[in-house]
Subunit: 219 residues, 2 copies
DNA sequence: AAATAAAGTTTACAACTTGTTTACAACTTG
DNA sequence: CAAGTTGTAAACAAGTTGTAAACTTTATTT
């Protein structure tokens, strides 16, 4: 699980980002000022830095300066008004930038891209007999490929990212299906049944009655 | 005990919120208008503000504006479910929002989340071998997940919030079952038995003869 | 562009879970 | 000890989830 530090002075924006990244399976830490960031960095070595360039007192630039000689990739966040900042930032060594306000999906895409470029630690995951390769988009069970459809695969990833957490049907719909569903639907249930069967995870994917599902993994 | 101010013009809603928050162990004060809120704030420094955004004369937004530079977190209540309003509120500095009509449990969950974010409460609680994670909605006993049904879970939370206090059956019914039961019922008793067994808390949840139950915890 | 195949969703009903009641045993209290 | 209260097991109804199959949409092939 990759670690990301969010350096952003507006708590609302910071929290929003955190929420999305955590659902996507990243381990986040928040810093609301340059100073706080320094503190956190001492015992949290992130795999990626999200940096708001417009922190008070030019702190953003100072921090960027500090990061550029390190191994850690930096994506910076900037308000639309400061177009010049982008160029400046990239020249100073940022790996990417994103303009506020941005879509959650766009941010996630850029994060994935940057991490890939930096040769992320592992695109492979292992769960008791199950091997998942994010880059190849393949899932193997006892060495043999299990054919998962798009929705099945995304559902599996969501479950894995939130292992041991109870996920409500609404959350699942929002993230795999991209919309807030109005009214009744059994879609989530049916897809859960499908991956339960294909993966032989009948016991591992628990039903949380009247709520949703939870993937239980020991480790 | 955290202090919360409820700024809401509809007395019925305000009272309902107050009742629930007090049962959950918060110290509440009510304001029915923006002006009244100002007065109360002079000698009641809340740890959290619950603000109805649709007060008459746009007072809600004005107040939010005033709070955003203070240290106090704000959750706003809105009747409108429009996404735009939510975003608007969050941008203006609210820490969370909740759309009316809402469930008591949802409001409590959000309050806990915001207070936690502000470094007051921890996400996890520990009670002699029992680990409760409010966010994941999981309860672990010696590291293993204990499956609790909805009512069992809510009953457990109520007991914990009122630990060492004797809770009458009526209070328990009101809070967990959402209604004032007319006549006889053994429902509470049976659910108490169930969580006693599941958690191994046979001794910790004491029976208060002819009254109700009490969760006894040392610390 | 039509035919075909695959994926995704809805429907219908079976199977199961939960919450509640009932019945009776065991306990508390005066 | 008697009356009332609580513990416990079992039965039940209501509602939720599992499952197969029909149906709709989307993608692929010809």
């Amino acid at each position: 699980m990759e670690k990301i530090i969010i350096i952003e002075d507006d708590p609302a924006i910071s929290d929003l980002i955190k929420l999305n990244l955590e659902l996507a399976g990243y381990d986040c830490r928040q810093a609301y000022s340059g100073q706080e960031a320094q503190c956190i960095l001492t015992d949290f070595s992130p795999d990626l830095v999200l940096l708001d360039i417009s922190l008070p007192d030019m702190e953003g630039y100072e921090l960027l300066d500090r990061f550029k000689n390190s191994e850690v990739p930096v994506i910076f966040l900037t308000a639309r008004s400061a177009l010049i900042d982008k160029v400046k930032g990239l020249k100073m060594g940022a790996d990417d930038y994103i303009v506020k306000p941005f879509e959650a999906m766009e941010l996630l895409a850029r994060i994935e891209a940057v991490l890939r470029r930096y040769g992320r630690k592992s695109d492979r995951m292992d769960f008791g007999g199950l091997e998942i390769d994010l880059e190849e988009r393949t899932v193997k069970r006892d060495g043999f490929i299990v054919d998962l459809t798009l929705k099945e695969y995304e559902l599996l990833l969501l479950l894995i990212h939130n292992r041991n957490k109870a996920l409500s049907r609404e959350k699942i719909l929002e993230h795999v299906w991209d919309y807030e569903y109005i009214g009744e639907t059994r879609t989530v249930d049916i897809h859960i049944q499908k991956i339960r069967k294909k993966l032989g995870w009948e016991d591992r994917i628990k039903t949380v009655y009247k709520f949703g599902y939870r993937l239980e993994v020991l480790s």
